[in-house]
């Protein structure tokens, strides 16, 4: 059985020292190890950004796609081989900026996969422009006078899109993050783990310290019911999106991949591709 070690490779991440993404990588590797998955049965699809490099840093099948499109690629992978554990990941710009449409649709489509967003409220790789999660008033390269757009709340939009597993982590707490990712992978359906993953180079506002001061832990609310969608909505609004832990979980819905008409338990990529002569003739006859 594989352990966390098997998910490590020999590549030294090219993230800046202190970047929050290191912790995300570690948590993902731990989660995969804890679940006793084999590296060859895991596919990690990522977008473009500092965060997007993660697919190259875990020993597993990795696909570093184009900016904002990790989810469509990941869904294609899952369609072709539903035996795989499919992880999609990338940054806040990648996922909630250019990739926003795909995210909303992936959430409602509910394929069985896990999406990890490294949310640093900035565009890191392109050197510090504001992102869709940058707060109103935030100063970045592209908002020298302060951001005049309102930030997207990843948790709110995920709930509104009908997500079935929603969690939020923080790079400072790898243990919690590992658990949340693990839960997402175990969940049969689409899961989002949004991670506060500070960009130490370009975001001088939303630092580790800042998050530590602002974040509340959902575990601190013993009455909080993660199966109650309205409660989740309310809690997210109440905490201004700054809560970590499992936000919502609906395990009553079947994932897309099991609802497909003509669903066969064997994955598509394992099928014999030859069309039987009998069927060929039958289909052809329909045109006569």
């Amino acid at each position: 059985m594989a352990t966390v070690k098997e998910f490590r490779n020999n590549v030294r991440p090219n993230w800046c020292p202190g970047c929050g993404d290191f912790a995300v990588q570690a948590a993902l590797q731990r989660a995969l190890g804890n679940l006793n998955l084999e590296p060859e049965n895991v596919a990690i699809v990522s977008g473009i950004g500092c965060s997007g490099r993660i697919s190259g840093y875990v020993n597993a099948y990795g696909f570093h796609g184009v900016h904002g499109r990790s989810l469509p690629i990941a869904q294609g992978v899952k369609l072709a081989n539903r035996d795989l554990t499919v992880i999609a990941s990338g940054g806040d710009g990648d996922g909630f900026g250019i990739g926003m449409g795909h995210f909303m649709h992936a959430a409602r489509r509910n394929m069985d996969m896990t999406y990890i967003v490294m949310d640093n409220q900035i565009y890191g790789l392109t050197k510090g422009q504001h992102s869709p999660t940058s707060a109103f008033g935030f100063k970045a390269k592209t908002t020298p006078a302060g951001n005049i757009e309102n930030a997207i709340s990843p948790l709110q939009i995920a709930l509104a899109a009908g997500i079935t597993y929603l969690a939020q982590g923080f790079s400072h707490d790898v243990n919690q993050l590992t658990e949340l990712i693990q839960g997402g992978i175990e969940h049969k359906g689409f899961s989002l783990i949004n991670v506060f993953s500070p960009c130490v180079t370009y975001n001088k506002v939303n630092t580790y310290e800042w998050y530590k001061q602002h974040v509340v832990h959902l575990e601190d609310f013993p009455d909080y019911n993660t199966a109650d969608r309205s409660a989740a909505m309310a809690k997210v609004a109440e905490t201004d999106g700054l809560c970590t832990g499992l936000v919502y979980h609906d395990d009553t819905r079947k994932p897309f991949d099991q609802l497909i008409q003509g669903y066969k338990p064997e994955p598509i990529n394992a099928q014999n591709l030859t069309l039987e002569r009998e069927m060929f003739d039958k289909v052809m006859e329909e045109f006569a």
């Binding site: 490779n9 060859e40 099948y61 469509p72 992978v77 795989l84 795909h102 990529n269 289909v283 045109f287």
Partner: protein, 584 residues
């Protein structure tokens, strides 16, 4: 007796014009006639003129006829719009309900019959059966039995209720009788009996769908768009039968990226689109090229630019397909010209995609995608599946613990072994960034050059089989060059001209990339004059020939871009005209 006859039915969209044409064409196809049926329609759901032009022939034709013999009209607009297409001596049969009249610009000797389609239909049970009445009238004119469409009606409505079938047949009979009552026979509209030959009637898009099924396609993410949607709509009925899936995505960007994901993970996957969707796919197309992922993209061309003329014919996306993505990738672009070729080209497309590990685009045009044509039954034994260079179990087993698989190994022919997620020993990285043999980003100058050469080299100096078909004179005075659905009208014009004693050749390009330079060169070298006929405003095929170094002192474009396909006599006239001009 006629060897062919040209018939058209017209009326308002939503009135059942489509199904009238379809019933008519299918019935005659089953009798053994060859059909070519082309619909005129517009981008709205109900209302607006539509028509279906059906050519019935004793031999295979790939174009609409130059003239109409019979026009069935459900409104005056139909006569006004289409009357000029009637040959002299042709006939119009109109619904008495709108008191049809012939317009001034009608050919000599055209006769008008006013038959109470609607009234007779009502008497037969329901006004919507006016189409059947009209078919009955047609049958009478053409000397067909009034039951000629019974088998088709039986398969259409039989499962619903026998009563409907009978009512429809009654309506056909009523039309037949009403036409009889007009008195006289119509010997000039009698068709020779068909050669008893079985053929299928299908549109190019059906053939592509069927081809994909036969080729083992299993995943099709796509977004609806005219005139490509049929491929998706066909496969959504078929793929579930073989354990596959069609997924309607949120947009075309998702469609191609999802196709890439599925192909990467080992499925044969395709998507289909038209101009606007194609434009949106450019980034993902580059990704497929860079990551050497074998995807198949069907691009069915319509009138452009932009939203353009969504329901009209054009061939103006060839350059976009060939050159639209930023950066340079190898790609195969297949351009079949008949539904039959669509079927086999689709199978080739999947094989080439996996053999060359690159995107394959199957480009069609609206006439090819949507015209209904009689085709020979397909050959089961001609369907082969070649998945290309897959990593063997032994190779995978050789990968050492902690090492990555060389998915992008630099081999002699540039083609590297593929492994799929799920395979032990096959782990590698994939990225749209320039990368090393194991797929890791690698920006070193020498690596980029080597990898560019590896990828581009896969298709360099290669000519795929049957990239050009040639008919007509071997050393022609005029060589016609075309692509796509124009094979029909050009072929017919060339045959006619050669029969008239002119020396004309016809080279039809079936592969746009890798472009068959050598073969075309050999044809060009033998021709005195070259006319490149295409349905666009800038002469893309001719430009492509020039770009590839193909030159000829007397080479010109014949362009048509009014939204309708070439007719054989338009081609013939152009050839004659330019022969004159040239001889002068």
């Amino acid at each position: 007796m006629l060897q062919e006859l040209s018939w058209k039915v017209g009326g308002q969209q939503g009135e059942g014009i489509d199904s009238t044409g379809k019933t008519f064409a299918t019935s005659l196809n089953r009798m053994g006639y060859y059909i070519y049926s082309y619909r005129h329609f517009s981008s709205r759901i109900k209302g607006g003129h539509t028509n279906d032009r059906v050519r019935i022939s004793t031999s295979q034709k790939g174009a609409s006829a130059d003239f109409l013999d019979i026009l069935l009209a459900f409104d005056q607009e139909t006569i006004d719009f289409n009357g000029h297409e009637l040959r002299s001596g042709g006939i119009v049969i109109g619904d008495a309900k709108f008191s049809p009249v012939l317009p001034a610009d009608i050919a000599q000797g055209v006769r008008l019959f006013s038959i109470p389609f609607t009234k007779l239909a009502e008497q037969s049970g329901a006004a919507i059966m006016k189409n059947m009445v009209a078919l009955g009238a047609t049958a009478r004119v053409m000397g067909l039995e009034p039951t000629f469409c019974a088998p088709v009606l039986q398969s259409m409505f039989g499962r619903k209720s026998q009563k409907i079938v009978d009512q429809n047949l009654g309506a056909v009979q009523a039309g037949y009788d009403a036409m009889s009552a007009e008195g006289g026979d119509f010997p000039e509209f009698q068709l020779s009996p068909p050669v008893p030959d079985k053929h299928l009637l299908m549109i190019g898009n059906d053939a592509i769908g069927f081809g994909a099924l036969a080729a083992g396609a299993r995943v099709m993410p796509a977004y609806p768009i005219t005139p490509a949607s049929d491929v998706m709509e066909y496969l959504i009925k078929k793929l579930p039968l073989v354990g596959g899936v069609v997924l309607q995505t949120e947009d075309e960007i998702a469609a191609l990226n999802m196709t890439i994901g599925a192909a990467y993970a080992g499925a044969r996957a395709l998507t289909a689109t038209s101009g606007p969707g194609l434009s949106l796919m450019m980034e993902a197309l580059g990704l497929a090229g860079m990551t050497e992922t074998p995807v198949v993209i069907v691009d069915s061309q319509r009138g452009g630019p932009s939203t353009g003329l969504p329901t009209k014919h054009e061939q103006s996306d060839m350059f976009a397909v060939l050159f639209g993505n930023h950066g340079e990738i190898p790609k195969v672009v297949l351009a079949p010209s008949t539904p039959e070729e669509c079927f086999y080209a689709t199978i080739d497309a999947f094989n080439y995609a996996e053999q060359y590990q690159c995107p394959v685009i199957l480009i069609t045009d609206l006439a090819l995608s949507l015209a209904s044509q009689s085709v020979k039954p397909f050959d089961y034994d001609a369907v082969t599946i070649d998945r290309g260079r897959l990593a063997t179990a032994e190779e995978l087993a050789q990968t050492e613990q902690g090492q990555m698989f060389k998915r992008y190994e630099r081999t002699q022919n540039g083609i590297s072994p593929r492994s799929f997620p799920g395979q032990k020993g096959g782990i590698h990285h994939v990225t749209g960034v320039e990368h090393s043999e194991i797929g890791r980003p690698d920006e070193i100058a020498g690596n980029h050059t080597a990898m560019m050469d590896k990828r581009l080299g896969k298709l360099r100096n290669i000519e795929l089989p049957n990239s050009v078909t040639y008919t007509g004179e071997a050393n022609p005075d005029v060589l016609l060059v075309g692509v796509g659905s124009s094979a029909g009208p050009i072929g017919e014009a060339v045959a006619r001209l050669n029969q008239e004693g002119l020396r004309i050749g016809h080279a039809h390009v079936k592969v746009l990339s890798p472009f068959p330079v050598k073969t075309l060169q050999s044809y060009l070298a033998k021709a005195k004059q070259v006319i490149v006929a295409e349905s666009n405003g800038t002469g893309q095929l001719l430009q492509l020939m020039r770009l590839s170094g193909l030159m000829h002192a007397e080479m010109s474009s014949f362009l048509k871009y009014d939204g309708t396909p070439f007719l054989p006599n338009e081609i013939a006239a152009q050839v004659k005209g330019s022969m004159l001009a040239w001889q002068r």
